[in-house]
């Protein structure tokens, strides 16, 4: 536990969020490695979160971590380890552990050679203002929504957060990669007489975070949800707002858009490439470079990320790869490797659904009797092959009758297949909204299956 933050005596302390310092540190680590090939990954995370409930701040924190992950390769074997202790002894110990594990030959190196130097596109998603947001500024953002809720006799709960994250990679074949990005998020649940409205917004640039408008919307929804009606379970037309659509997209990624699930025969894409699996108006891509996204230009092996069309006009097109899956299946990595400790295989982390030509108001006007759904909660996979999920609606579920929002309704449990539901989507919004790292539209879907009414 030396105070030094460099494995090399006499070197300056590591500033992981600065390119020169991060790369110099990684090159120092590489110089200490005795393995035939070595890859080193630095992940630095500086984050803060102010949490409020009952119209006051009740939890308020910040953290600062930096982690080094080592992949050593000896012959056909690999060894992996990670540490957040950067003194000379700790780094040497980690390097030696990885080398010994590699020499045992039990963990195959896939493939046996590390990639060389790469060219990366630039993504501008680091903003100093976001990185430096102070606890006072976070408190003031929370207060703006708390005051409005309080004035309306309601209560606000939620969180304001900001972070600065850096990923830097170097390997013994000459690859050097560095990307630093920021993130800010505001989310609130407004409660009025036991009924709730919810909002969230995310941006790399905190100055564009739409706290007031989103907070106002959540308050309006909470007030509108009062005098709730209880509906019977059954099939309803639904309008899913972006947060609900995002849940469905994320589960598709998990269940079937990665090469590992595909290779193992667990993906709904298996045997379906080139054939229709959902509605013609459904196109889903993974795009780290989308201007409203939150992408990193390379993956956790330093391979440049590619834009991958996963479903195009309802037709299954491709899954994403890392170097291991690509080498097994005779293709190239699409730049979708996860960090080494994850064992799910490659996954798309920047999903974008193609926009349609409608908007929320048009969708509401087109519904004779249906539900407007703000978000889902506790979605889980019931049957992976069918993409059958269960979950509940939450924080703003409304009955739409004769083209207007009629009243709030009790929350409902659904059991529904994502691909089958998407095949019944007849309206998609022309605007997309970022929910975490996913860009999702609003969708109108018919015959959505609810199996239970939730509530006391």
């Amino acid at each position: 536990m030396s105070p030094s933050e460099s494995p090399m005596a006499g070197k300056r302390e590591l500033d992981a969020h600065r390119k020169e310092s991060a790369i110099e540190f990684l090159e120092d680590v590489l110089s200490l490695s005795e393995a035939a090939q070595t890859e080193v990954l630095l992940e630095a995370d500086q984050g803060a979160l102010t949490r409020f409930a009952g119209n006051q701040i009740h939890q308020n924190m910040c953290s600062n971590d930096c982690r080094l992950t080592i992949r050593a390769i000896e012959g056909e074997g690999a060894g992996h380890t990670s540490t957040n202790r950067f003194d000379s002894d700790s780094v040497k110990q980690a390097l030696e552990w990885a080398r010994q594990a590699a020499r045992s030959g039990r963990v195959p190196a896939r493939p046996a050679d590390l990639p060389g130097s790469q060219q990366y596109a630039q993504i501008k998603n680091h903003f100093e203002k976001t990185a430096r947001l102070s606890p006072d500024e976070r408190a003031e953002m929370a207060l703006r929504v708390i005051k409005k809720a309080s004035a309306a006799g309601a209560e606000a709960a939620g969180a304001v957060s900001n972070s600065q994250e850096t990923i830097a990679i170097a390997n013994s074949s000459g690859l050097r990669a560095f990307h630093s990005f920021t993130n800010s998020n505001f989310t609130a649940t407004i409660s009025a007489d036991g009924f709730t409205g919810w909002c969230d917004c995310t941006s790399a640039d905190v100055t564009t975070l739409d706290v007031d408008e989103r907070g106002k919307r959540a308050l309006e929804r909470a007030l509108a949800a009062r005098n709730t009606r209880k509906l019977e379970p059954g099939r309803y037309t639904v309008i899913l707002e972006e947060a609900a659509v995002k849940e469905f997209l994320d589960f598709l990624a998990w269940l079937g858009f990665g090469a590992q699930a595909f290779e193992e025969g667990r993906s709904f894409m298996c045997g379906k490439i080139g054939t229709r699996i959902t509605g013609e108006n459904i196109t889903i891509v993974d795009d780290a470079f989308h201007e409203e996204g939150s992408g990193i230009p390379f993956d956790f092996e330093g391979v440049p990320r590619q834009r991958v069309v996963l479903i195009e006009n309802g037709i299954a097109r491709a899954v994403v790869h890392d170097r291991a899956s690509a080498s097994r299946t005779g293709t190239s990595s699409t730049g979708h490797a996860l960090p080494l400790e994850f064992t799910y295989g490659p996954l798309p982390l920047n999903l974008v659904m193609k926009a349609g030509d409608s908007d929320l108001e048009q969708m509401i006007r087109s519904v004779d009797r249906g539900l407007l759904i703000t978000r889902f909660w506790y979605c889980r996979v019931v049957d992976p092959a069918r993409t059958l999920l269960t979950g509940q609606t939450r924080d703003g579920t409304f009955l739409v009758e004769n083209g207007e929002i009629a009243c709030g309704v009790n929350d409902m449990r659904f059991n529904e297949s994502v691909l089958e539901a998407f095949a019944r989507a007849d309206m998609i919004s022309r605007s997309l909204r970022r929910v975490n790292s996913t860009l999702a539209p609003i969708m109108k879907i018919s015959d959505f299956r609810f199996t239970e009414t939730v509530g006391e």
């Binding site: 009740h58 963990v107 989310t187 939450r394 449990r413 199996t451």
Partner: protein, 486 residues
């Protein structure tokens, strides 16, 4: 350096005028191994250490943390925590106060026979290879997986009230699973539990005693046989749950709703609230008279649970508390802050995922006390019902009232006998009526503490390991098979 950080942080917090402060210095070692179809997918060892300082200043909280562990960092981090506490005062309706607690100076370590970090990778892989090889030998098994996971957490806790507590907690877990894919249908069977197995506090001896090799072929055969099994019928019937599924049922429908921070609204924006509001405390009928649920972190009566320790992350000694006694809702999982809100004292349930996160009210081991029946007796006493084993899906609403679970496998019971395997079984219900329909619980011989290593809560989200003691139990008039209807 550990001693220096502790002294600097506490002195600095006192000088800043803190009402209360604590520091946790944590070193976490983790190893995870995954073998698939005979190929080692991963063998990863990671280490993470750092410290976090929590300051209560004029009734408002501030917390900061760092992986850098010098004296200068102790000063910087404590100053940050103080500054954050000042910022919290900008939106403060009432001062946060803590219920009283005794200070303690102590050391405790999980009793282990074999420290898993002293066992070689070769020895661990030899066991996994054997089990996975047997699984894969079953015709029709497409994917045979085996995994092991180990954690060693060394922690020093000190606070401004004079506590100085060191703990070393070791968790070990392992499991195997077989996936069979046929005609677009995926069936999975796992042992001893799904989602990478069974986890407990203890050493490598737990893994050796698990019986993964002995059960591998049976599990593989069941995964393949499920394709030919009839779809689970839908309707209302008697359901018998095995201990592992019941463990998760307890987790979701008793553990979470008895977290007092949820009840008081802390989690409304994320994890949700609770139907067990304070007006129900002490008289609400939660379940039948057979139902006794305890939150038990104590090493004496809950050894081997993932929520077993000597002190929680506020320095409160481990406690055994009845959450439900003879079917009546009787207490909460709480912290010093939340207990004070209801005029009580902490039940010792504050836990943090890491040095970089604040402690939250979390489950320790929430256990259903054993009854006097047995699985065989329950089946023999059932005219028509369903025995369900090993969780496959789980979902519950944000008040923890309405749930739906699915299991990997089910067996139909007719006239007191198991007559037929069924696939894709699911059941759903409402918490009090479900527990109210509990008509039998198996005895101590069939009682095991199951581990749930992946419980999420809080913003930023923290993942915590919890334990759930359970034996098989029977419930009448349960809705079955709704999920697969059309």
């Amino acid at each position: 350096m550990t001693e220096s950080i502790q002294h600097i942080a506490m002195n600095k917090a006192r000088l800043a005028g803190a009402d209360y402060a604590d520091v946790r210095i944590v070193d976490l070692l983790k190893e995870s191994i995954l073998v698939k179809n005979g190929r080692v997918e991963s063998a990863h060892r990671s280490q993470s250490s750092g410290f976090g300082v929590r300051v209560l200043l004029r009734g408002a909280w501030g917390f900061s943390s760092s992986n850098r562990m010098s004296a200068a960092d102790a000063v910087r981090v404590t100053e940050e925590a103080v500054a954050i506490a000042h910022a919290s005062q900008k939106a403060q309706r009432k001062r946060i106060e803590l219920s009283p607690a005794e200070s303690a100076k102590d050391f405790w370590a999980t009793p282990v026979k074999i420290d898993p970090f002293t066992v070689s990778l070769e020895q661990k892989l030899a066991l996994l290879d054997q089990a996975v090889s047997l699984l894969k030998s079953v015709q029709g098994v497409n994917l045979a997986e085996g995994s092991m996971n180990f954690w060693k957490r060394k922690q020093l806790f000190a606070n401004t009230e004079g506590s100085l507590i060191e703990q070393e907690i070791i968790h070990s877990g392992a499991g195997v699973s077989a996936t069979s894919i046929r005609d677009g249908e995926i069936q999975v069977r796992s042992y001893p539990n799904s989602f990478r197995g069974q986890y407990r506090s203890g050493g490598y001896e737990l893994v050796e005693e698990m019986g993964m090799v002995e059960n591998a072929e049976r599990i593989g055969s069941e995964a393949v046989a499920l394709h030919s099994a009839r779809q689970c019928p839908s309707g209302v019937m008697t359901v018998i749950l095995d201990g592992s599924q019941l463990g998760l049922q307890i987790h979701e429908s008793c553990g979470h709703p008895t977290e007092l921070d949820r009840v008081l609204g802390s989690e409304i924006n994320f994890a949700g609230t609770s139907f067990l509001t304070t007006d129900k405390l002490g008289h609400f009928r939660y379940g039948s008279e057979l139902v006794n649920l305890v939150a038990d972190a104590t090493p004496a009566t809950s050894p081997g649970g993932l929520g077993t320790f000597a002190y929680d992350d506020e320095g409160i000694p481990a406690r055994r508390v009845y959450l439900v006694r003879d079917g009546i809702f009787s207490d909460y999982l709480s912290s010093r802050e939340t207990a004070r809100e209801i005029g009580s004292r902490s039940t010792g349930a504050m836990r943090a995922m890491s040095w970089s996160t604040i402690p939250l009210v979390r489950m320790t081991n929430v256990n259903l006390l054993p009854g006097d029946s047995s699985l065989d007796e329950m089946i023999a006493a059932t005219d028509e019902g369903l025995f369900m084993s090993t969780n496959r899906s789980w979902s519950i609403d944000d008040k923890r009232l309405h749930f739906q679970f699915g299991t990997e496998i089910g067996w139909l019971i007719k006239n007191g006998k198991v007559v037929e395997m069924v696939k894709n079984p699911t059941y759903s219900g409402t918490t009090p009526s479900f527990w109210g329909s509990c008509t039998a619980i198996a005895g101590p011989k069939e009682w095991t503490i199951w581990g749930t290593p992946n419980c999420g809560k809080g913003q930023p989200q923290q993942i915590i390991s919890t334990g759930h003691g359970a034996s098989p139990a029977r419930f009448d008039n349960v809705s079955v098979g709704v999920a697969y209807g059309r």
